[in-house]
C-alpha cells in the first residue's frame, strides 16, 4: 500500500500532460470510481491511464484466478474441482470411445487394481490444508473413480488417454507404493558374484544358513558323473546326520527337482535337535533351488517344500501334566 501511494505521488509528479489529457474524457467515470472507492473505504488506486508497472493494479481490481480464493481452503477446492473436471473429461472420452458403460462381464475381466494413495499427512502437504477423514475420503473417492477410468483405458489400449489420466493420478500416489504392495511377499533371492545363493531355512527352533553354488563340470568326455557334496558345519553330511531319515529329508528337495548333481551345498545349522536341523536344512536347500531355478517355484510351492513348517513345541498348560497329557484320573 505504501508502495502504491509512493508510485502514485511520483506519477503525479512525473506524469505527462498528454496522458492526463487522454484521461480527460474518462475522468468523470474514474472520479466516480474514486468516490465509490472512497465511500467503500478502499485505498485510492491510481486511475490515470499511465504506462507503468502496476497498470492492472491501478486500473482494475484483478479478480482472483479461481472463485475458491474466497474459501478458506483455495488449494483444496481447486484440486478437487480439477479432479472432477478430469473425471468428467475422461468419462466423456471413454463414452465417445464406447468404453463406457462397460458390461458386467467386461468389468469382471479387468485386471485388479491396487491403488496406494498418499496418506492423510502427505495429502495435507499437497493440499496445504489439514486433511480430515471426510476430506480424505472425498479425495480418494474421486481418485478411485479416475483410477478406474485409467484401468479401462489401459486395458482397452487407448494409450494416450490412459497416459493423461495416469499423469493426474500419479500425483497422488504414495511414494511407498512398491513397498506396500510387496508386503508379505518373499524377498527375491539374488545370486552373488560367484553365482551363489544364500538362503535361510527354519524348522522348530533350528535355523540353517545355506549357500548353494553350481558344480563346475569338467569339459573332458571321460569326466565322471557330477555329484552334489553337502557340508553341514564344515562336516560331511553322513557324519553330521547319522540317521537315514534325516539324510533323506535333506536330499528330498534336490530329488523332487531332479538336480542331484547340479549344485554343491554348504550350510551352517544352529539350534534345536537332529530333526529340526535336518528340516531347517531341507527348507534352506528348497529356497536355494528356487533361487537358482525360478521355473520350479510353483512346483515347490505345490509340494510344500518352500513352506516353513509352522509346527512348534506346544506349551504346557496349567492343570495338565504336559501339553495334552492329563494327570491320572482319580475317582475319589
Amino acid at each position: 500500500m505504501l508502495r502504491r501511494q509512493a508510485v502514485f505521488s511520483l506519477r503525479r509528479c512525473y506524469g505527462t500532460t498528454a496522458s492526463l489529457r487522454q484521461a480527460a474524457p474518462s475522468s468523470q467515470a474514474t472520479r466516480l470510481d474514486d468516490l465509490r472507492a472512497g465511500i467503500l473505504g478502499r485505498t485510492q488506486q491510481p486511475t490515470a491511464n499511465t504506462e507503468g508497472v502496476d497498470d492492472d493494479v491501478r486500473k482494475y481490481k484483478v479478480p482472483p484466478s479461481s472463485p475458491s480464493f474466497y474459501t478458506a481452503r483455495p488449494v483444496f477446492y481447486d484440486q478437487v474441482a480439477q479432479l472432477e473436471r478430469a473425471i468428467a473429461t475422461a468419462n466423456n472420452a471413454l463414452r465417445r470411445a464406447q468404453l463406457l458403460p462397460l458390461p458386467a462381464f467386461a468389468r469382471a475381466s479387468l485386471p485388479p487394481i491396487h491403488p496406494v494413495w498418499q496418506t492423510k499427512e502427505e495429502m495435507t502437504q499437497h493440499f496445504q490444508t489439514k486433511m480430515t477423514l471426510a476430506r480424505y475420503r472425498k479425495v480418494t473417492k474421486l481418485l478411485n473413480e479416475l483410477n478406474d477410468y485409467h484401468r479401462i483405458a489401459n486395458t482397452a489400449g487407448v494409450n494416450d488417454l490412459a497416459n493423461k489420466i495416469y499423469s493426474i493420478v500419479s500425483l497422488f500416489e504414495s511414494s511407498k507404493k512398491d513397498a506396500f504392495l510387496a508386503r508379505g511377499k518373499r524377498k527375491p533371492v539374488v545370486l552373488d558374484v560367484y553365482g551363489r545363493s544364500y538362503t535361510v531355512g527354519k524348522r522348530k527352533t533350528s535355523s540353517a544358513r545355506v549357500w548353494m553354488i553350481p558344480v563346475q563340470q569338467q569339459e573332458s568326455s571321460s569326466a565322471p558323473l557330477p555329484m552334489t557334496t553337502i557340508l553341514v558345519n564344515n562336516i560331511p553330511l553322513n557324519e553330521f546326520f547319522p540317521l537315514p531319515a534325516d539324510r533323506e529329508r535333506i536330499t528330498r528337495p534336490l530329488k523332487v527337482a531332479g538336480i542331484l548333481g547340479k549344485y554343491n551345498v554348504f550350510s551352517i545349522v544352529r539350534g534345536g535337535g537332529t530333526t529340526g536341523q535336518s528340516g531347517a536344512l531341507a527348507h534352506g536347500i528348497a529356497k536355494g533351488v528356487v533361487a537358482h531355478e525360478p521355473d520350479l517355484e510353483t512346483l515347490f510351492r505345490r509340494t510344500k517344500l518352500t513352506r516353513r513348517d509352522p509346527r512348534m513345541v506346544e506349551r504346557k498348560k496349567t492343570g495338565l501334566a504336559k501339553a495334552r497329557k492329563r494327570y491320572t484320573w482319580v475317582k475319589r
Binding site: 565322471p224 558323473l225 555329484m227 552334489t228 557334496t229 553337502i230 560331511p236 553330511l237 553322513n238 557324519e239 547319522p242 537315514p244 531319515a245 539324510r247 533323506e248 535333506i250 536330499t251 534336490l254 530329488k255 531332479g258 542331484l260 548333481g261
Partner: protein, 486 residues
C-alpha cells in the same frame, strides 16, 4: 510238496463245509488239559425269549461265544480255499514268485582272481570263490562283512584303485623280507579297510602265498579264550586261541605246509605226561606236525606248535607269507584278561598279541612276505590309541593334551612303525567311493533284488550324496535302509 498242500486244503474245506452245532462242539472238546475235565458249561438263557425260528441261530451264537471264552490253545484248522481273497489258480498260484524263492538268484559276477585286478577293471564287482579252503570260510570274517555276505547271494566286492595299489605292493613284497613291507591300512570309519585287507588275503592265497588271517584281533584280547601263565617265557599263553590258529593255518595252507619241513627236531607235548609226548625229527613235514597238534584236543601243545611253525615260516623262502590282521589297534589296549592281582594284563604280555606286535614292529620278520593290517575306526571300546595316532600321523579329531600318558612299551612297538624311519607304512584308503565304484556296488545290490525303489538312477545319486561316498553308509544306511517308496 504242492500235492500235499492241495490235499490238506481239500480236507480243510470238507471240514468247514460241515460246520454245524456238532462240529463246533467237537472243536470245543478238542481243547486240551484242564478244560476237558472242567464241568459242562451251562447253556445261557435268553431274556424275553427267542424269536420264532431263531432258536438254532441263538444256540449257535452262544456256543461260539463260549468257545472263545476258553483260554486253551485252539487246534489249528486250515482256512478253506474259497475264503482266499485272491483265489489260487494254475496261472497265479498262492506261492512266492520264483525269483523270490531262496537260492534262486545268483549274481553272475567275474571271479576275483589276480589277473582280474587291473586298472582297467577298477569299478567292477568280482565274486569270491566258494571252495572249502577259502580263507574267508576258514579264518572267518569281520562282523559287518560277514553280515553283508550273509544277505548277498554270493560274497563279492568291488575292485578299487587301492586294490590295484595293494596288489602292486604285495607283488614287490613277494621277494623281500616282511620288514620292508609292514603296512597299516588307515582311513575314516567305513571307508573299506577291512574289505581291502580281505581282498589282499584272497589275492595272496590265489598267488600261492601262505596266509595267516586274523579277521577280529580283538577276540584275542577280550578274554574269550583260555590263558595260562608260562614261567619260561614269562608271558601268558593262550592255548585255545593258538590251537584255533594252528588248525586254520593247516586247513588253508595244507599244500604249502606239506612241502615245508622242520629244520630242527621238536618235541610235542614236552610239558605233559610222557605217554603223550611226540618227537618230530628234523625234516618232518610241517603239515604232519600241525595235524598232530590238532588231534590233541586238550590244546596243551598248541602254543609250542604255533611257535615252531612261525619260526619255520620265518626262515623258509619257498613261499611268501602274508600275516593279515584286522582290528589292529585293539592290540595296543589293555586286555580284558586279569592277572592274579586283578590288574588288566597288557596286550604285549599275552602270547598271540605279542607275536603279532613283534612282526608288526619288525622285531621278527618273514624272510619273504608281508605284514598287512587294518585299523577299525568305528570301535568305541578299542579306539585308535594315541601311540598309533602319533606314529602313523593320523591327525587328531580332538585336541590332545601333552599330559596324557603314552605307554613306553607301546611306543617302542609303535616307533618301529614310523614310516619315515623305514617302519610301518600307512596306506590311506580313500574316504569316498568313486562314482564308478559306487555304481558297480549299486548294481550288485540291484541284481540281487535288494532295492525297493524302481527309480534306480535317482536313488543311486541320492544315496551317494547322502552317504557322501562312504562305502559302509552307502550300503547299510543308503541302499538297504531307504524309506523312499517305489
Amino acid at each position: 510238496m504242492s500235492s500235499s498242500i492241495l490235499s490238506a486244503a481239500t480236507s480243510g474245506a470238507a471240514s468247514c463245509s460241515q460246520r454245524s452245532l456238532v462240529t463246533s462242539r467237537l472243536l470245543v472238546q478238542q481243547t486240551r488239559g484242564a478244560a476237558q475235565k472242567a464241568p459242562a458249561v451251562k447253556v445261557a438263557q435268553s431274556i424275553g425269549g427267542v424269536k420264532k425260528g431263531q432258536k438254532d441261530k441263538w444256540e449257535r451264537k452262544i456256543s461260539r461265544e463260549y468257545t472263545h471264552r476258553q483260554h486253551d490253545i485252539p487246534v489249528f484248522t486250515r482256512m478253506s480255499e474259497d475264503k482266499l481273497k485272491l483265489p489260487k489258480t494254475d496261472k497265479s498260484p498262492a506261492v512266492l514268485p520264483e525269483q523270490f524263492q531262496p537260492m534262486s538268484t545268483s549274481l553272475n559276477l567275474p571271479l576275483f582272481e589276480p589277473k582280474a585286478i587291473t586298472r582297467k577293471n577298477v569299478g567292477t564287482a568280482a565274486g569270491f570263490d566258494l571252495t572249502p579252503t577259502n580263507p574267508a570260510k576258514v579264518f572267518g570274517l569281520p562282523k559287518k562283512m560277514f553280515l553283508e555276505f550273509r544277505i548277498l547271494s554270493t560274497p563279492c566286492s568291488v575292485i578299487r584303485d587301492v586294490t590295484v595299489e595293494t596288489k602292486h605292493k604285495l607283488e614287490k613284497a613277494k621277494d623281500s623280507s616282511s620288514k620292508d613291507s609292514r603296512i597299516v591300512l588307515t582311513g575314516r570309519a567305513g571307508c573299506g579297510k577291512s574289505f581291502l585287507l580281505h581282498q589282499a588275503v584272497q589275492y595272496a592265497k590265489s598267488e600261492g602265498w601262505i596266509v595267516l588271517y586274523i579277521p577280529r584281533a580283538k577276540t584275542l584280547i577280550n578274554s574269550t579264550t583260555t590263558y595260562t601263565y608260562d614261567l619260561r617265557t614269562q608271558t601268558y599263553l593262550q592255548p585255545q586261541a593258538s590251537y584255533r590258529i594252528v588248525e586254520k593255518l593247516l586247513t588253508v595252507n595244507s599244500d604249502a605246509l606239506s612241502t615245508l619241513t622242520l629244520s630242527a627236531p621238536f618235541t610235542l607235548g614236552a610239558d605233559q605226561d610222557k605217554s603223550k609226548v611226540q618227537v618230530f625229527k628234523e625234516g618232518t613235514k610241517l603239515s604232519e606236525l600241525a595235524q598232530a597238534c590238532v588231534k590233541d584236543k586238550s590244546f596243551q601243545s598248541a602254543c609250542g606248535t604255533l611257535e615252531v611253525l612261525m619260526r619255520e615260516l620265518e626262515g623258509q623262502t619257498k613261499f611268501p607269507v602274508l600275516m593279515a590282521i584286522d582290528d589292529f589297534q585293539s592290540l595296543f589296549h589293555d586286555t580284558a584278561y586279569r592277572d592274579p592281582f586283578f590288574r588288566p594284563i597288557k596286550s604285549h604280555h599275552l602270547s598271540l598279541p605279542r607275536l603279532i606286535l613283534e612282526y608288526a614292529s619288525g622285531k621278527r620278520n618273514f624272510a619273504k612276505g608281508a605284514f598287512l593290517s587294518a585299523l577299525t575306526a568305528s570301535d568305541t571300546q578299542y579306539a585308535i590309541p594315541l601311540e598309533l595316532q602319533d606314529t602313523l600321523e593320523l591327525g587328531n579329531r580332538h585336541p590332545v593334551s601333552p599330559y596324557v600318558q603314552r605307554s613306553e612299551t607301546l611306543l617302542q612297538y609303535a616307533s618301529g612303525l614310523d614310516a619315515n624311519a623305514g617302519g610301518l607304512q600307512n596306506l590311506k584308503v580313500p574316504e569316498k567311493f568313486s562314482v564308478e565304484e559306487a555304481q558297480a556296488l549299486f548294481e550288485v545290490w540291484k541284481d540281487d533284488l535288494a532295492l525297493t525303489n524302481s527309480r534306480h538312477d535317482e536313488s543311486f545319486m541320492a544315496k551317494y550324496v547322502e552317504s557322501d561316498g562312504n562305502p559302509r553308509d552307502f550300503v547299510w544306511k543308503g541302499v538297504l535302509a531307504s524309506y523312499a517308496p517305489s
